[in-house]
């Protein structure tokens, strides 16, 4: 094991440059440990975002050696075998400062995709009974564990080409709700996820599914949305 890791970290906002640091190599070191070391020992002005450190909150995602990852769950030994690290903010999002991106547009897209549950029942009604083995429930289960880290959004080429594209995370959220039999806003949701900014511009490249740290496959959900929207459009329901 070499004594130091040679780290290049993005400093600045949209305009900026990579700055080099030398960080001592340690056992079981994560990329987040490296960033934290830099801020605490080398340059306290470095800005970055993290919270839980154990892969639950999704706030520490960054671009590590060109790939969007959760830094807290990425071992240095896995991604920097040659002792070199390049750490940048997530792609496809505006940079506030250094490694912190502005996620507001990302979450606005969840709202645009009708990512809010709309139910009919009140707390005075009986619980809805959803058959666990139903295909809808299974489809919703497959996408429900998303924690909104933005890794898929940053990995999507189509988001890079079309800034207005809702992106894999928002569409995955819509797909889980489309499969929620309690939800009452289905037609509005299908309208919201159709069109130039919606599911139909996805090229099924699968980068989102490849990179998702939760092993969710937004590509599959988007394909499901395409089928449902096309069916509704052909039937004249939209």
């Amino acid at each position: 094991m070499s004594a130091d890791i040679r780290v290049k970290v993005w400093r600045g906002a949209e305009q900026g440059d990579f700055v080099r640091y030398e960080v001592p190599r340690q056992d079981s070191q994560t990329v987040l440990d490296v960033v934290t070391y830099i801020q605490r020992h080398l340059d306290p002005s470095l800005s970055y975002r993290f919270s839980c450190r154990v892969g639950m909150c999704g706030s520490c995602a960054m671009t590590v050696n060109g790939v969007a990852r959760w830094t807290c769950r990425t071992s240095v030994s896995k991604v920097a075998a040659d002792g070199k690290l390049e750490i940048a903010p997530l792609a496809n999002l505006p940079v506030i400062k250094d490694l912190a991106t502005d996620m507001s547009g990302f979450f606005d897209k969840w709202a645009q995709a009708r990512g809010l549950f709309q139910g009919r029942r009140t707390r005075h009604d009986e619980f809805a009974r959803v058959e666990p083995a139903s295909s809808e429930r299974i489809a919703a289960d497959a996408g429900i564990e998303c924690i909104g880290c933005g890794v898929c959004h940053a990995s999507c080429d189509v988001v890079g080409w079309r800034a207005e594209f809702l992106g894999p995370a928002a569409l995955n959220r819509a797909w889980t709700l489309v499969n929620d039999q309690r939800d009452t806003g289905q037609l509005e949701r299908l309208r919201a996820v159709a069109g130039d900014a919606g599911c139909h511009v996805c090229h099924t490249q699968g980068s989102c599914s490849e990179r998702c740290p939760k092993q969710i496959a937004p590509t599959a959900g988007i394909a499901g949305l395409k089928r449902l929207v096309a069916r509704a459009a052909i039937k004249g329901q939209l």
Partner: protein, 113 residues
């Protein structure tokens, strides 16, 4: 008709045309092997294709599927790589689809008539 509905229908047409094109490509490859087995001269190929209306019908279907599929893909490329979208891009893509249809059908007529 809203943009969303149009996009959904266009996507559907692109899918349906792709469904048609996929087996057409396989058959086309088989026809190439068949058509050139006696040699690659124009007279030899025309001798096999002229009057073969089954062949003409097959290629007409292939050409029409391409004429639907290609402009949809070109419009997407124009939007994503060149930033060219809207009515102008749609018209240009449609004209290109028309060009494929006209040239393709004309070639089939020349081979089979």
């Amino acid at each position: 008709m809203t943009s969303a509905i149009t996009q959904a229908k266009l996507w559907y047409w692109q899918r349906v045309s792709a469904l048609v094109m996929a087996p057409c490509v396989v058959v086309h490859l088989a026809i190439i092997v068949y058509a050139v087995r006696g040699g690659l001269s124009a007279a030899e190929i025309l001798g096999r294709t002229q009057g073969n209306w089954l062949l003409g019908g097959f290629y007409a279907l292939f050409v029409l599927a391409c004429a639907v599929h290609v402009p949809l893909g070109l419009a997407a490329i124009a939007a994503e790589w060149l930033g060219w979208r809207g009515r102008g891009a749609g018209i240009a893509a449609t004209l290109f689809g028309g060009l494929i249809a006209v040239m393709g059908l004309r070639a089939i007529y020349g081979l089979t008539a």
